[in-house]
């Protein structure tokens, strides 16, 4: 029979693994996207290789350039 503290440590370890896997999946799943929201709650995604999507990504890239790197600690 395992000591109680071992059981607790194992459980914490499992939770940590789950959290790490979740973050990994989230990063992989969140590819670049452009999403526009219209009145009445409608939204539309625009693929990066579409004409409208390409324009949006170019405009976004310029804004990211203007904002620069993060200054806060």
């Amino acid at each position: 029979m395992q000591k109680p503290h071992r059981v607790l440590l194992d459980r914490v370890s499992v939770y940590a693994d789950e959290a790490a896997a979740f973050m990994r999946r989230r990063r992989v799943a969140r590819r670049p996207f452009a999403r526009l929201y219209y009145p009445h709650g409608r939204s539309a995604d625009h693929a990066q290789d579409s004409r409208s999507g390409a324009e949006l990504f170019v405009a976004a890239g310029r804004l990211i350039e203007v904002a620069g790197k993060r200054e806060k600690g």
């Binding site: 219209y38 539309a44 409208s52 976004a60």
Partner: protein
Amino acid sequence: MIQEARARVTPGIFADMADAAPAAAPDKESAEAALAFLTEMSPDLRGAAILGPEGEVLAATGEGPERWREDAAALFAAADGAEDVPVEQVHIATEQGEVFAIRNAGLAAVTVTERFALASLMLFDMRSTLRQLASPNFGTPGGTEPRRDD
């Protein structure tokens, strides 16, 4: 039938609401205060700008408000042109960061954040900032300026 009637009437209702447009464009001092508050509230924020009804920059982080004006105008032009319908909100996620833009109360705000910023929270903060800024009581004692607890 009811839905058709609702679709015809609803835009008219929203056009009459206080959110549709401010009575007058807020001054730059108020916009800077609102931007400072937004920056403080959003730990993922890298930079932001608040734009007036004509697209002019009322407040912006860093230097180069002219660049913010040009690039924000380009973003809204691209977004509006995607379906030839004016957008309310824009969210673009790239490898280098994320861009949010919103129109509310006749004003607009554009922010750039780190990757994986919480989108709904960011857009909520931006919307409430613009709404408060457009309020005629913003910045007055007892007005709608965001209160700080510290």
